[in-house]
């Protein structure tokens, strides 16, 4: 600060530096109160339910039963199957969404005619709900009059109709296809933005050193966008793991439970069984898996940045 400035200004400027406590408190209050009362309180209450007999249709008989919900769950073959499916669902969906999304983002990073319209088509699935995407794909996968069977027959890739959703050996692949289709947009948007933030001087320097396209990609582009890659893949994996809406719209877990993942099985327990105790027990296992995954992921990628707000 220059000397000889009027003292009023000096006092006001020190006022900006020292935090105005009342303003901070009042501004945060609505957000904090709402999130504590309507997210954290019910969430903790839900965790307690995992140790209770808590059935919607038998609310007079709510009592603690220790680990019984967990014992029943671990012996349930549906649960074991859904747990395996969850891993498969997240892993395959994530790899395909990411690699296709990155390819699209790299190609879109250069100007070409019609890029604006192309971008619109890349992004629009994001405006749709998972449930409706499930419905649309259910219609396309239909074994009798579904357009996918028809197209594959025309192309000569198959010789008889496939029951994509009714055949348990195809069902999981089919829901993953719909999920990949839905999720590419997210990576394309995020990665495209990251690519556009790479300073062009880096590429110029690379060219002077005689780096070719592939070298530039691996030595300049990818390292530069790495933080975005780590954040987006971490977040996306959690969302794919937690969101049952595509499966709900497409197969509702069928046929015979073959496409349930943990979150859709949990939804099933709530919507059709009213068994909140059992659902919460699944929820706790999911939280455990997510915690392990996050810790593992952050250790492997050595990303301390994520926790640094």
């Amino acid at each position: 600060m220059k000397e000889g400035q009027p003292s009023v200004v000096r006092r006001m400027q020190s006022g900006f530096r020292s935090s105005p406590r009342g303003f901070i408190f009042l501004s945060l209050l609505p957000a904090l109160v709402l999130v504590l009362v309507f997210t954290y309180y019910p969430f903790l209450r839900g965790i307690v339910m995992a140790f209770q007999n808590y059935q919607l249709f038998d609310l007079t008989n709510v009592h603690f039963i220790g680990l019984d919900n967990f014992k029943t769950m671990f012996h349930d073959t549906k649960f074991q199957h859904a747990a395996t499916n969850s891993v498969y669902w997240v892993f395959i969906s994530l790899i395909l969404q990411f690699s296709i999304g990155l390819t699209v983002a790299l190609l879109m990073n250069k100007r070409f005619r019609g890029r604006g319209i192309f971008q619109g088509f890349v992004f629009y699935p994001w405006a749709l709900s998972g449930f409706l995407i499930g419905l649309i794909w259910k219609w396309m996968f239909n074994s009798q009059i579904g357009v996918i069977n028809d197209l594959l027959l025309h192309l000569g890739l198959i010789h008889e109709r496939i029951g994509f959703l009714s055949d348990p050996s195809w069902a999981m692949t089919s829901v993953i296809v719909a999920n990949v289709w839905y999720g590419i947009a997210f990576f394309a948007i995020m990665l495209l933005a990251a690519l556009q933030s790479v300073p062009s001087e880096l590429y110029e320097a690379g060219s002077m050193d005689g780096a070719n396209g592939a070298r530039k990609l691996f030595n300049i582009t990818l390292p530069y966008i790495m933080p975005t890659v780590i954040t987006t893949t971490l977040l996306r994996a959690i969302w794919i793991f937690n969101d049952p809406s595509i499966i709900y719209g497409l197969t509702n877990g069928g046929p015979a439970g073959s496409t349930h993942i943990l979150s859709s099985l949990m939804l099933d327990k709530i919507m059709y069984g009213g068994d909140y105790g059992a659902a919460s027990a699944i929820g706790i296992v999911m939280i455990g898996i997510l915690l392990l995954y996050t810790i593992f992921y952050l250790t492997v990628t050595r990303s301390e940045k994520l926790g640094d707000f």
Partner: protein, 275 residues
């Protein structure tokens, strides 16, 4: 030669990708416009002989789609407006000041994004029953607002951080209070970010299904996704009606996306995930 080859590959990839992305939308729209007999006819008709709006007329007559659209609009808009108002305040404070609980508040908001939401659903139902809000539009407005506050705050915080604080300091030297500096000076500068947050919130609310299914029973209060959900249960075989309903449900958000694509891409990317 090599360059031409790789350029050709790119064009092929982009073309195939475009078709794969666009086709499901095309197929659901064209199905909704086909007469009943064309929908189930062999060979499949990729372009119908005759287009008809009969499916749309049917579902509006049978299942009062206009009521659901009105409910969805009212609920999604109100919740999006409230979310933006609340989150602008919390994001501004978190972007500008370091205080003792800063890290804890941010962590608390981040954690909500990781929690499997259904764990909280049953207790929320009980809470809403006690507050006498079950079967009201207000319950959904409240739930959607709460659900989006953490993400919107994180998003908006990114925008505030890109605006130099000297801007409001200058306004305050000129005699503005901090609040009026925020509203009159800062918010106009980050209108893009606010628009992106608002649209994101609106689309999320418009699409939400599970909370609405659990909280709303009354036919006249249902939102579009809830109506589509019960529609699926009732008319599982009537794909003409189902596709018309799907088109009515998705067109508003697609239109919104098309108009505001620039804000969204700019907003979601630079706000949410900084490199």
């Amino acid at each position: 030669m090599k360059r031409n080859l790789s350029k050709g590959l790119k064009v092929v990839f982009l073309a195939v990708y475009l078709i794969v992305m666009a086709f499901p939308l095309y197929w659901i729209v064209i199905t909704s416009l086909k007469p009943q007999k064309d929908i189930f006819s062999f060979p499949l008709k990729y372009w119908p002989d005759r287009l008809t709006f009969q499916n749309y007329i049917n579902i509006i007559k049978i299942s009062k789609f206009h009521i659901y659209i009105a409910n969805s609009l009212l609920i999604s808009l109100s919740a999006a407006v409230i979310v933006v108002c609340i989150s602008v305040l919390s994001a501004y404070v978190l972007a500008r000041f370091k205080f003792r609980a800063h890290r804890h508040v941010m962590l608390g908001f981040f954690l909500t994004q990781m929690l499997p939401g259904f764990v909280a659903l049953a207790p929320l139902y009980l809470l809403m029953t006690r507050l006498d809000l079950i079967n009201t539009r207000a319950s959904l407005v409240l739930m959607y607002t709460v659900g989006l506050i953490p993400f919107s705050t994180i998003l908006l915080k990114g925008f505030f951080e890109r605006i130099p604080s000297s801007l409001e300091e200058a306004a305050m030297i000129d005699g503005c209070s901090r609040m009026s500096a925020l509203v009159r000076v800062i918010m106009p500068v980050m209108l893009n970010g606010i628009a992106a947050t608002f649209i994101f919130a609106f689309v999320q609310n418009w699409n939400e299904l599970f909370v609405a299914v659990l909280f709303i029973d009354d036919e006249s209060l249902k939102t579009l996704p809830v109506a589509m959900n019960s529609f699926v249960m009732k008319f599982d075989v009537d794909w003409g009606a189902m596709s018309a309903g799907t088109v009515l449900s998705v067109l508003p958000t697609i239109a919104l996306f098309a108009v505001a694509q620039r804000f969204i891409v700019d907003g979601l990317t630079q706000g949410a995930v900084k490199g």
